[in-house]
């Protein structure tokens, strides 16, 4: 019996506690979301019927199932508020991901071209903002973007504008906030693939007569696509469900699905509709989540 075999047994037992924890606090809660999304709103505490009561036994649970209704999902698909927030989430996430790619790629590329001993420092500099409070970084932008904030002061001083520009409560402010917050998520996977690239490939391309520009588009960029995919998904998925950034920076005119969920839950106290919105959001995210999982597996299998 090899040492590998002997070792696998106790290591397997190590997984028991975290396994149970994740089942109880991650998997089971989704069951409740699903169940309550099929319940009816009520003026009660908690504000929905039917309530599962395990103490009442199997017949009560069967009865509860009989009362499940799809009304909340009907509401989601018939009310234009929900449809528009659903669509807006997708539009905002796609647009932000594209902007992030456009800004993040040149930065990651520049990092990969730094002298070797500087690269860990550059990487550290990109990671630090990720650790720094997200809320505080959004707040920092409110400081800058407000009516008499620094940005308007600079623009006025340079005579680029004649009157203060309204930045806050606009989509521009929201996109600035999103790009600012998610930039490290885009740069790091890109840098990881770019820095592993074999420089001799570019030399070969040059020997064969490619200009640096051609070499980039024909060699570097295609080879960096796994990083592009990972970075794009790592940004796209959480941005779709983003709540804090649009709430603080965008106008109140149109909402993203995370804001709709929040509003239904906290303001309207309509838990079943909020749960239905969560299920809808989850359904939207399943394909990109699976895609991300496959990409990760391939990277791990490739020794990345």
């Amino acid at each position: 019996m090899s040492a590998r075999r002997i070792f696998a047994q106790p290591a397997r037992y190590a997984a028991i506690a975290p396994y149970l924890w994740m089942v109880l606090f991650f998997l089971v809660p989704f069951g409740f979301v699903l169940k309550i999304s099929l319940s009816q709103t009520a003026i009660a505490q908690p504000p929905y019927v039917p309530v599962f009561d395990f103490a009442e036994g199997w017949t009560a649970i069967k009865e509860a199932f009989a009362q499940l209704s799809f009304d909340n999902f009907k509401l989601l698909t018939s009310d234009s508020l929900y449809i528009s927030s659903y669509l807006r989430s997708i539009v905002v996430a796609v647009t932000s991901t594209l902007i992030l790619l456009l800004i993040g790629y040149p930065i990651a590329y520049g990092m990969a071209r730094l002298p070797q001993r500087w690269q860990p420092i550059a990487m550290m500099l990109v990671i630090v903002p990720f650790w720094t409070s997200f809320l505080i970084r959004i707040y920092a932008w409110i400081n800058i973007l407000q009516h008499d904030g620094l940005l308007n002061q600079v623009l006025l001083a340079l005579h680029l504008v004649s009157a203060p520009v309204v930045w806050l409560s606009t989509d521009t402010a929201m996109y600035i906030g999103i790009v600012y917050s998610y930039l490290p998520f885009m740069i790091l996977p890109l840098y990881a693939t770019l820095s592993k690239m074999d420089a001799s490939l570019l030399e070969a391309a040059a020997d064969l007569g490619a200009s640096p520009r051609q070499a980039f588009w024909l060699v570097t960029f295609p080879l960096s696509l796994p990083g592009v995919g990972a970075g794009a998904l790592l940004c796209f998925i959480p941005i779709v469900g983003e709540f804090v950034i649009p709430d603080l920076l965008a106008g109140s005119g149109s909402m993203m699905i995370g804001q709709t969920l929040w509003l239904e839950f906290f303001t309207n106290k309509d838990w079943p509709v909020a749960a239905a919105a969560a299920v809808a959001l989850l359904v939207l995210l399943v394909p990109p989540l699976l895609l991300y999982d496959r990409l990760q597996r391939r990277t791990l299998a490739g020794g990345g």
């Binding site: 696998a8 975290p18 994740m22 908690p46 409070s133 920092a140 030399e203």
Partner: protein, 271 residues
């Protein structure tokens, strides 16, 4: 002439410089303005510590900060324990029943929108009739942050040479002893880094805490968030600066820890 590593075009340098300025300028401006004496956030009134004084006299803010620190310390500790165990199970456990589900459950929260995690945990707590407050927020943060700990420890554990443990077992250790005496000391730096990450993530969270806390037990980010919604206040600059200072200390410790562990390897995750 082919471009080589270390040979940078003007375009590369500009992109890097602008990128770093974009990442850091807003934070620098925020820190500077926290020392501004003026009540108007945008007018410079000279250097002063008045907003810091104000914070230390604000009972509600102090309570929230204390609550946040306790939640962050406790949830990070439990998360580090569970996350390390999970990493050991994933890396060393080979195939076991439900492994795919296990790793799926550990990876999903890394990118899952917080509104979903928050709402689902709240519905669980309501169904269990649990009183909402310190413990429910702690459990919620533990669930989220242990996934990050798992990723950090897992990448380090996977890079460790198994033959070291096999040698220890040849010399008479049982598998558990071999792990505790040989492997564990090698992964301690990544465990420390995992704890630090869990701590800062917990200290940062608004959304999940808003769902899972009860009346009267707001965390610091919840309080900051409700103040910020009402507009910019110089006091928030001071609190933010202190949070940034605290997190900077944590980062320095974490990076020293990973220095000690030698090369950490390049991970694709932003950790």
């Amino acid at each position: 002439m082919a471009p080589r590593i270390g040979q940078m075009s003007r375009f590369n340098i500009t992109a890097l410089a602008l990128g770093m300025a974009f990442l850091y300028l807003p934070i620098v401006i925020l820190v500077i303005y926290s020392f501004n004496d003026s009540r108007l956030v945008t007018v410079w009134g000279g250097w002063s510590l008045r907003w810091y004084h104000e914070f230390f006299n604000d009972r509600a803010m102090l309570d929230a900060a204390w609550m946040s620190l306790r939640v962050a310390a406790l949830s990070a500790t439990i998360a580090t324990l569970l996350g390390t165990l999970a990493a050991v199970g994933l890396v060393r456990g080979e195939r076991f029943r439900g492994r795919a589900l296990f790793s799926g459950m550990l990876y999903a929260p890394l990118v899952m929108p917080e509104v979903i995690s928050g709402l689902s945990l709240l519905l669980l707590f309501v169904a269990l009739n649990a009183e909402r407050g310190f413990w429910t927020v702690t459990i919620a943060h533990t669930t989220l942050t242990m996934c990050f700990v798992t990723v950090v420890v897992q990448s380090r554990l996977a890079s460790i040479d198994r033959s070291l443990e096999e040698a220890a077992m040849d010399l008479g250790c049982d598998p558990v002893q071999a792990f505790l005496r040989v492997t564990l000391p090698l992964i301690v730096p990544s465990i420390v880094a995992g704890w630090m990450l869990a701590f800062t993530l917990s200290l940062d969270d608004v959304v999940i805490a808003s769902f899972t806390t009860g009346p009267g037990s707001a965390t610091l980010p919840i309080r900051i968030y409700s103040e910020v919604r009402l507009g910019v206040k110089p006091g928030i600059n001071a609190i933010s600066t202190m949070v940034i200072a605290l997190i900077s200390v944590v980062i320095v410790i974490a990076s020293l820890a990973s220095k000690l562990s030698g090369s950490q390897g390049k991970s694709a995750a932003p950790l």
